[in-house]
Amino acid sequence: MTDQVSQESSTGAGAPSRRSVLGWGGAGLAIGAAAAGGTVAALGGGSDMAPAASAGAAVPFHGEHQSGIASAVQDRLHFAAFDVKTKNRDELVRLLKEWTAAARLMTAGLPVGDAYEGLPEAPPTDTGEALGLKPSRLTLTIGFGPGLFAKDRFGLEGKRPEALVDLEAFPGDNLDQARSGGDLCVQACADDPQVAVHAIRQLARIGFGKVAVRWSQLGFGKTSSTTPDAQTPRNMMGFKDGTRNVSGTDTAALDKHVWVGANDGSAWLTGGSYLVARRIRMHIETWDRTSLQEQEDVFGRDKGEGAPVGKSKERDEPFLKAMKPQAHVRLAHPDSNDGATILRRGYSFTDGTDGLGRLDAGLFFLAYQRDVRKGFIPIQRQLAKNDALNEYIQHVGSAVFAVPPGVRDKDDWWGRTLFA
């Protein structure tokens, strides 16, 4: 409810609606681009780490880091992984530039070209379903999968970061290859699901012939926040999730655990990050039949407040030894993993029901980190082996990506530091 209230009261400055911008005059792509530049300038200047002010506003697209990582987590997700179809490096670069231009417009709340004022014989350039909607804090974040760096492909073999490892098979994994991997990914987050879906749809359309969607995932509820002052969201198991997540304003922690440093081995990735995506199916029905006591034991926190075992408040420092040895929170804690820390940005998903009448639901886990080998991998080794939660979950999809640094200005483009 709070979100709705804030949304209604936030229609003021700096949040142009797609319709009002269209009205500015004829809005061809060129005019649109100029308008977008103006909007970004008007809104921007701020760091992308600062939480966006309100649900309807635009999040600056330009910055040192890509937005959609440390920036405040929006309510909705459409995540897409792509296979690159073209064998031509120049064509891939052209696509990345086109994508960047489109992302710049869409994150500012603008359509990508004409939606209804073009030639009657031609299909409209923008598909139109986001007209009249606010920017809705849309962020678009790109990542490059291991396949892109393969030998004899785009001449990037020597640029594959050491930390971009192929994830090992963890015990209990039941990965569907059709929902795993990908040469590229785009994470679209927004407070309005239609804005997020529109964004992926435009990019997929621009990409036809050069790239093809390999798989995509919708998420409807954030499960972690990067804004510790806000109420911690709950996952599909009913527990608060992400209480101790890395804060989007804690620059020291971000530099230590999330952003790739200049001396980390891959200069082109400086200011970037690594993303691990896991589709984690939950056995919802069996979980729901589990006693409250066992549920709380499994997590190591109480269900109401979210307080760690033996403590009374959610944000009290957890005392790990008070928890059961196989409690999820205990095993995932940095102290159980030599300090391994990741920034979680996952979403709940429900893709209807499966053929057996069970909810096809779970967590679409997204984690950003400075080095996969020191972040997700040690934590997941620990969890896959010992976590009490494993009885109720199964990892069914997996992907890993190197996430380039931010697009600096209107001349910059996604992947410049890698390809240029």
């Binding site: 296979d83 179809k85 030639l119 014989e121 031609a122 059709a178 359309r205 036809f208 012939g209 093809a212």
Partner: protein, 379 residues
């Protein structure tokens, strides 16, 4: 088969039907003072005047040759304005037609074959200012010829199929089924512009309206593959199919085709692939989807090749993309046939999910730029 869709093509077809009615041939005594006389021989087609006022026009044809002849009044893109068939040696016929101002051709066809012996004529008067591009007229005329040829070629292949069904020969009928559909699949958007034929020959069971009797290819497909038998009903339906395919052939020359409708038709053929063939819905019993798929792509490519000179001038980058993607999709399809010139494709139930995804990606890669062809031609 696909659900009804309001296209330029189908809307235009209604107009054509009306034109055909007004352009009816009769032996009436309409041969007033303004009548145009045509002397048709086995090697000539002499027209008494090549300029005449627009409006109701009477044309008197006399066949002075030894072969049966026909007379056509054609638009510059070869669409038929009016026609008279079966004019026997030594006989006369009169055609009356409502002809608007503009350029036309009269064509005599001794022996009722070929493009005919042509004379350019002009109907003078108001409203003749319609801008026509000779290049695009030629493209449309060539495409019309292709469409007519496809319908013509479907007559013997359909007859082979129909004869096998009527003989109760299940195996022979199965063999002849997909080849009989190829011409239809190549030219489906034009064929479908005659709204009444498509639901008779190409409807699937799930596409039937309440009260509609299921006829056509797919009804027989189900009998042959799912039921594996031919009964009296099927034999009757085979006759009906032959009648309907013949009707399609008869009407096809009057279809209104424009450069834009050709381009959109090409895109629609890819839509057919995307919604019906890639999913395996079109040929759910026979699994001959890839043959239809190839036919659709061939038809789209034909229209594209004819429009290419114009598109090249307006959008060279688009032409480059389309050349690449047509070649890529054809190469992909070739994986599913041993003889690269034949139409024996892998049965679609043997094509796995990953391969179907690859085919679907290929279709999307081509269909997206193809959707921009109409604008590149209309510029």
């Amino acid at each position: 088969m696909r659900p009804a869709r309001l296209t330029v093509l189908s809307a235009a077809a209604v107009v054509v039907a009306l034109t055909a009615v007004t352009g009816c041939a009769d032996k009436g005594d309409d041969s007033g003072s303004g009548a145009i006389k045509v002397n048709a021989t086995d090697s000539g087609c002499e027209v008494s005047k090549t300029e005449f006022p627009a409006g109701k026009v009477s044309i008197e044809v006399e066949n002075k040759g030894s072969k049966v002849t026909e007379l056509y009044v054609l638009f510059p893109d070869d669409r038929i304005v009016a026609e008279r068939e079966n004019i026997g040696p030594g006989t006369k016929a009169t055609i009356t037609a409502e002809i608007k101002a503009g350029d036309y051709a009269f064509a005599c066809k001794p022996g009722m074959k070929g493009d005919g012996i042509r004379t350019k004529v002009k109907a003078t008067g108001q409203g003749s200012g319609e801008k026509r591009s000779p290049e695009l007229d030629a493209a449309v005329a060539s495409y019309r010829k292709y469409v007519v040829e496809q319908a013509e070629a479907s007559l013997p292949t359909t007859k082979t199929f129909v004869d096998a069904v009527k003989a109760g020969d299940v195996e022979a009928a199965k063999k002849a089924y997909a080849p009989s559909r190829l011409g239809w699949e190549r030219t489906e958007p034009v064929a479908e512009s005659f709204g009444d034929i498509d639901p008779k020959v190409d409807v699937r069971e799930d596409g039937l309206e309440a009260g509609q009797t299921w006829t056509g290819w797919h009804r027989l497909e189900k009998a042959l593959w799912a039921d594996n038998k031919i009964g009296d009903d099927e034999k009757k339906l085979a006759d009906t199919l032959m009648t309907d395919v013949t009707e399609w052939h008869k009407k096809i020359g009057t279809a209104e085709i424009t450069p834009t409708s050709m381009a959109n038709g090409a895109k629609e053929l890819l839509d057919e692939v995307a919604t019906g063939k890639v999913t395996g819905e079109e040929e759910r019993y026979s699994h001959t989807d890839l043959i239809d798929f190839k036919g659709n792509v061939e038809g789209a490519e034909k229209a594209y090749e004819l429009l290419k000179p114009t598109a090249q001038k307006n959008d060279a980058e688009l032409v480059k993309q389309l050349d690449t993607q047509f070649a890529a999709l054809n190469t992909l399809l070739d994986k599913y046939r041993a003889d690269k010139n034949g139409y024996e494709f892998t049965s679609y139930d043997k094509v796995g999910d990953a391969e179907r995804k690859e085919l679907s990606d290929g279709v999307n890669s081509l269909a997206e730029p193809l959707s921009k062809l109409a604008a590149a031609v209309a510029k």
